[in-house]
Symmetry: C2
Subunit: 421 residues, 2 copies
């Protein structure tokens, strides 16, 4: 692979994956069984009893999975109450993200708000301002939809070059859940919204209030006032008891602990949509109202936190793809930094504004690889390279980095976050 451009090493390899064993493990065989005490002897766990059905009314992962957790990065923010942690996507498979390890972003910490204390006001340009209790919301027709939520800042450190060594840290500000809730248009209709009104402004019940303006067209389209995720109540850190779901749009707009929705004839241009969540261009001007999360993908394994632990031969390359504009139609994978591509297998047909799992079942020759994935959605959009993105957007941005990611996989199986020039 001498024709691969030499990769630029990480500037900050603060979290390096465990060293690969590289034992050249044979796939399976009787030879292994003959000398294997795990096969030839009766094990402890087959001789005694395990836990009874009263052991864990609500269970947690087994202790062997203690490293599959949300992680935050201390130097990233001044305080943990206005900060972020990251989903361990390198260790997950499938598409659903359990609430327990789904990333969090708070502006003033996760508050505790009971259903009985919960109120939702709809006011502004409406016939009749309304206040809903939690019990009121349960009386309106509900819908179920699975959607991804991606923070606008996901992959934001990559603008400046390969920084964080792990898919959890470069791409883990994302999760994907099945939501149950009431369409916002149902509640706006109940209040009799002014049909000439063009915007809503949404506030949370936390101290930050995290107010965001949303165009009425979106509010009437697919926005949900949601109270369940993956079948059960929203967790505290995900906005219990009620959050907004704004499919395909940046996570900051999915206001948690939502307390007020005002119908307006213009945007508020609040602190949360001016001081943040705008994109500074090369000339110093700023893009605003960049709500949609464009098509994107990442290889979750192998990756820096999920090295290859075997020798050459069969290897499953897997990752996630998503688009805020619709469904993923195709994902290509490159092993040589984008010179050649193979089309990956989608585990299921892409779903609207939801994560898609892809697999490339391949035969690894044991040599270096520069792994990349490239997503396409049903609008015909193709995920850009980092160079293409910088050509258009410069390098001053924090948000909306959806460029192709590169992992340099070594013959040892270890992987590193790199840029290809």
């Amino acid at each position: 692979m001498s024709d691969i451009p030499f990769p630029k090493p990480s500037r900050r390899a603060f979290l390096r994956g465990a060293a690969a064993t590289g034992t050249g493990l044979a796939l399976a065989g009787t030879a292994q069984a003959e000398g294997d005490p795990l096969i030839t002897q009766v094990q402890d766990w087959a001789q005694g009893f395990g836990d009874g059905v009263d052991a864990t009314p609500y269970g947690l992962p087994i202790r062997f999975e203690d490293d599959v957790v949300r992680r935050n990065v201390e130097w990233l923010t001044a305080d943990t109450i206005s900060s972020i942690n990251f989903t361990p996507i390198h260790a997950l498979d499938g598409t659903i993200t359990p609430q327990g390890c789904a990333f969090e972003r708070h502006h003033s910490g996760a508050i505790e708000l009971s259903k009985s204390d919960y109120r939702l006001m709809i006011n502004g340009l409406v016939d009749k301002p309304l206040v809903f209790t939690y019990a009121d919301l349960e009386r309106f027709p509900r819908e179920n939809h699975t959607y991804f939520l991606e923070c606008a800042a996901n992959t934001g450190m990559e603008w400046a070059g390969a920084q964080l060594n792990g898919a959890q840290f470069t791409h883990g500000m994302i999760h994907n859940m099945e939501y149950t809730g009431v369409p916002l248009r149902t509640l706006l209709n109940e209040a009799g919204y002014d049909t000439s009104a063009t915007w809503i402004f949404v506030e949370g019940a936390d101290a930050s209030s995290n107010g965001r303006s949303i165009p009425m067209d979106k509010a009437l389209d697919d926005v949900l006032v949601a109270f369940k995720a993956n079948g059960e109540a929203l967790r505290k850190e995900h906005g219990y008891p009620v959050r907004l779901v704004v499919p395909g749009w940046e996570g900051n707009m999915w206001v948690k602990w939502v307390r007020r929705i005002e119908v307006l004839n213009g945007p508020v241009e609040s602190r949360e949509e001016t001081s943040k969540y705008t994109d500074t261009m090369a000339d110093g001007s700023s893009r605003k109202w960049t709500w949609v999360m464009d098509a994107k993908s990442v290889i979750t394994s192998p990756s820096p936190q999920a090295p290859i632990t075997h020798g050459p031969g069969p290897l499953v390359i897997t990752g996630l793809a998503w688009s805020g504009r619709g469904a993923i139609t195709r994902v290509d994978v490159s092993k040589d930094g984008g010179k050649t591509w193979e089309t990956a297998r989608l585990a299921k047909p892409g779903e609207n504004k939801a994560l898609t799992r892809f697999y490339l079942d391949t035969d690894w020759d044991g040599e270096d690889m520069l792994l990349q994935a490239r997503a396409m959605d049903d609008t015909g959009y193709v995920q850009p390279t980092k160079a293409q993105l910088r050509d258009v957007r410069g390098e001053n941005s924090i948000y909306h980095n959806n460029c192709i990611q590169t992992w340099w996989v070594r013959p040892t199986g270890e992987a590193e976050n790199v840029e290809v020039s």
Copy 2:
């Protein structure tokens, strides 16, 4: 509703739902807001900070949801290590069941088995007996599928009449997860199974070993050797690190901690498929090999543990439907014990061998209701009444009770498990 047959009260109302408040709550209004300190005052949770992003690396439900847990019934079995607990389906919505509250059934308790100690043997009528490590399994092409798992004994107490007062207890031996795993046919091919062989026998690594015979046709069809559920590792109680997934078939065949699969030319007729999991008919003979879980449904709310807490007016009736033979195509709901039916709204088109959520958005007159749901699947099968089922199967069975369930909802909103004559 004087023409409704008088319901037979529960024989054992050991878990009665909380008394309904029945306050005649208006849906929402400004009057409520004007005197409501939750609207007119700044609340504590809006004045201080909440939890930081380092508070819970792996989160649990908020304390207000402490009652939404698996529950076991002490008098049902002699010991909790060979027993069952129940999914709190009365409190869930959508279709995904979080692993943490998904029901458990163990024959000798939930064992702790690490990935490094894990081995899977395939032997018997094969060219080459094989032993797979966990790492080996990760090298084969994977699939993702969402399937329900229902215990054959779910609703088993109902053969004798309305017994347990709550959907969690009558229908909670079910869960629905997105599995990631390797098709069993891939591993059987790897071992070179004898193509004239007609059965496999599957064992778990726990003391019970829970051995079950499965016809080769099923083994080669859609059975998975699974290692993830809802995106993350299987929980200990769900078979960590590897379990069998046998879509649409009774849960006992989904062998947990699967350690051996033997290819055979006949069934083993093991203890687990002779002393249990057969159905005693009225004449004392037994049905055997009744693997498929037929189409079934249940209303989860309102139900005895989820009473109506408001007065007449808009009411969401919701529940779950499923079929081991394919996809749910239609669910009907009756409010008068099966005299008249309305077709419910399916939240999504029915999926193959997965839970389907249905809703009936209705206007409650505040009077008694005898609520029933009736599922249909894409084979044309219609869920039977309890009388129809007893006509064919007698009353001696424990397993495979898929009859229509009745909840008697009173004007107070309270509901009770009843039989209609």
